[in-house]
Amino acid sequence: MIPVQFYLVISTLLFFIGVFGFISRKNLIGLLMSIELILNAVNINFVAFNRYLFPEQIEGYIYSLFVIVVAAAETAVAMAIIMNVYRKFGNETVKSIKELKN
């Protein structure tokens, strides 16, 4: 059985790659993809801990499924916002939406 530390290292790497991407990407779609990475890191943690701590129960799996569903919904909303931002400003970089006015 693969030790839990392996999963945790993977998920931590994935999480920080996501965070790094979220901080450094200029493109809104890139940001969205980074968020997906972070969520997936969380999902890996859920599944791994469920498997190792409470093998007879399935709450962790169900929660990871929830997270996937919510991520899909969030992506749909975010894509709509990004489309509008693109229409209004002509590009989809993060810098273009930092003003509250207009």
């Binding site: 965070v19 979220f22 901080i23 450094s24 993060v94 810098k95 939406i97 930092k98 003003e99 509250l100």
Partner: protein, 666 residues
């Protein structure tokens, strides 16, 4: 009619008229407002006459606060009656402010004076303002303010307590302000009304201080208690004011300070030196309102105030009465000298008013409460108040007629008017004779009594000054008279198609009424008997030496005026050429206005205001600026945090989470 049921109308009706005329000013034409206002005041005047008549000659009673029945007269004594006394403000158990209706001989007399003069001025103004007529829509406003003034003045004289008096005192000040500034498009009128208001208000500050000191120590506002003077109550009255006699401040007993401060308030309204500066400028108002306010009623409020508190002054602060008498004598002489050099006819009358009111003050100052010999001055003062109100109002209304024709206030534009306006001229002559003190006109009696009072109470120096002033009065009044009606006729009259003429009946009737009162004054029943400080009847003594000297001095004054001003000649110019600097000095009112102005500028503006301005500028503004500065710097420093850049926020957020995680772990 039941006195208690009609008495409230005397105050309510003019007040309602003020509100009604003020609110409907744009609806009615000026003439309609004038008719409504005059009719309403006619009713008030009838009520006033009725109440005063019942008080002096009738027999009626009211129930006082303790449930006793008080008659208007018991034996020889006229009682003080409180017809009604509404509680207006109950602050604490002791501190109550009433609005009431107080009848005693002097307030009953003032009712007659106010009713007569105000009614006549209402009638006169109809002619004056209408024919003057370039400002018809203002007439409703004019009548509204006249009603306000009548209301305030009646409330002032009928006050049951000193605080009610103060309230109405300020109200007459306001209506005076409004009437002086009636021609608000004239800069001179605007500055005159501000000057009048500020000067009287400044004096009223002392009045308020005096009221507060007096009522704090006596624990009462009521005149009834302050003035209680019946045998047993005299002692109580002593006790009442003794409380503040024991305490001294700056070396003076507190009662002296309080009563002197109250007198200063009266000095402001009555234009005593050095507060007289507002009255000559107040002549910018319409002439009828000058006759009502600045000759007959409001300016005697100060005299009335001292008379009202006379027992307090006489028992508790006789030194203040002395001060009043010296200030009065100085003012009388001073104003008479200035009046000699004035060329504006209304200004001459204004200074003459100051001088005559000073006569009343002197008479009060020399009188002492007690018996009929010592309190002669009180009666003389009230008598002069009455007669002066009548003939001075008449003189002002005559001036109104003249100004109406000549359309100028300057003496040099007049002359030779006798044959053009005989009725006005005759009334003016009667007024001049009365003020000069020629028998049998009213002024002779009152002025003679004032001079006798000075003499008999041992103020010989004052007597000499006042007699000299009487001569000056005769001189300047006849200078005015001859200059207007004889001297040299203005050549424009003969050629002009608009010759000067007597005015219509609205403007002539008041003159004739006043002239009749002035001429038949000595026939008026009961006057000099009833109005005494002790409110018992007294026969006026006649001191023939004093009367004889006063007539001789008056005739001398008239004679000099006749020589100089009856026909055109070079003598006045020659006399003036000898001492041009002095003439200029007197013509400029002895520079008192400039002195006030200098004090205001150099001391109040230059020192006090500058210090306050510095404090305001540096301390208050400085604190505000400091707050603003700190806020600005802080926000400048922290605004970069709110960049709107979501990635920066995440960076901070992550760093924060990591920091907290480390802190939690170790």
């Amino acid at each position: 009619m039941e006195i208690t049921s009609i008495a409230p109308l005397v105050l309510l009706l003019p007040f309602l008229m003020f509100i009604f005329l003020g609110l409907t000013a744009h609806k009615f034409s000026g003439q309609t407002s004038a008719k409504i206002g005059t009719t309403a005041f006619g009713i008030v005047a009838i009520l006033c006459y009725y109440i005063a008549g019942q008080y002096f000659f009738g027999n009626f009673s009211v129930t006082d606060a303790n449930g006793f029945e008080v008659f208007n007269k018991t034996g020889e004594v006229y009682n003080q009656m409180t017809i009604f006394n509404w509680t207006w403000m109950q602050m604490t158990e002791n501190l109550v402010i009433h609005i009431g209706f107080y009848l005693d001989p002097i307030s009953a007399m003032m009712l007659v004076v106010i009713a007569t003069v105000s009614l006549m001025v209402h009638i006169y103004s109809y002619g004056y303002m209408f024919e003057h007529g370039h400002f018809d829509e203002g007439m409703s406003r004019y009548y509204a303010v006249l009603s306000l003034f009548s209301f305030a003045m009646l409330g002032l004289v009928l006050a049951t307590n000193i605080f009610q008096m103060y309230i109405f005192w300020e109200l007459v000040g306001v209506s005076s302000f409004l009437l002086i500034g009636y021609y608000f498009f004239k800069p001179a009128a605007v500055s005159a009304c501000k000057k009048a208001f500020i000067v009287t208000r400044f004096a009223d500050m002392f009045f308020l201080i005096g009221i507060l000191i007096l009522s704090y120590h006596t624990q009462t506002f009521d005149f009834d208690k302050l003035n209680a003077d019946n045998a047993k109550l005299v002692i109580e009255s002593f006790a009442i004011t003794e409380g503040c006699r024991g305490i001294t401040f700056l070396g003076f007993p507190l009662i002296t300070i309080a009563t002197f401060c109250i007198f200063l308030g009266g000095a402001g309204k009555s234009a005593m030196f050095p507060f007289h500066i507002w009255l000559p400028d107040a002549m910018e108002g319409p002439t009828p309102s000058s006759a009502l306010i600045h000759a007959a009623t409001m300016v005697v409020a100060g005299v009335f105030l001292v008379a009202r508190l006379f027992p307090v002054y006489s028992f508790s602060a006789p030194e203040v009465l002395n001060a009043i008498c010296y200030i009065g004598a100085f003012t009388a002489l001073f104003a008479a000298i200035i009046a000699v050099a004035q060329t504006d006819i209304k200004r001459v009358l204004a200074f003459s008013t100051i001088s005559q009111i000073a006569y009343m003050m002197v008479a009060l100052g020399v009188a002492r409460f007690g018996n009929h010999e010592t309190e002669l001055g009180f009666t003389a003062s009230m008598m002069h108040l009455f007669t002066h109100a009548m003939f001075k109002a008449m003189l002002f209304l005559c001036c109104g007629c003249i100004i109406h024709c000549v359309e100028s206030n300057e003496m040099s534009k007049m002359g030779g008017l006798w044959k053009y306006m005989p009725k006005t001229a005759w009334c003016f002559l009667i007024g001049c004779l009365a003020i000069a003190g020629i028998p049998p006109f009213s002024g002779f009696f009152s002025k003679g009594e004032i001079l006798s009072a000075c003499m008999e109470n041992g103020y010989t120096a004052i007597y000499v000054v006042m007699t000299f002033t009487a001569g000056l009065t005769a001189f300047y009044m006849f200078r005015l008279f001859f200059h207007i009606f004889f001297y040299e006729e203005n050549p424009e009259y003969a050629t002009s198609h608009h010759k000067p003429h007597d005015q219509g009946w609205q403007m002539t009737l008041p003159l004739i009424v006043f002239a009749v009162v002035t001429v038949v004054f000595f026939l008026l029943p009961g006057f000099n008997k009833a109005i005494t400080a002790t409110r018992t009847e007294m026969e006026m003594p006649t001191n023939w030496t004093v009367e004889g000297i006063s007539i001789a001095v008056a005739l001398l004054g008239i004679g000099i005026a006749y020589l100089l001003y009856f026909k055109k000649n070079e003598k006045p110019a020659n006399i003036m050429a000898k001492c041009p600097a002095l003439c200029e000095f007197v013509y400029n009112r002895m520079k008192i206005d400039e002195i006030w102005y200098g004090i205001t500028r150099s001391f109040i503006f230059g020192v006090i205001c500058k210090a306050i301005a510095w404090f305001d500028h540096n301390c208050i503004d400085g604190f505000m600026n400091f707050c603003a500065f700190v806020t600005q710097k802080t926000s400048l420093g922290t605004k970069d945090a709110q960049s709107g850049n979501v990635q920066q926020y995440v960076w901070v957020f992550i760093m924060g989470v990591i920091t907290i995680a480390f802190l939690a772990l170790y």
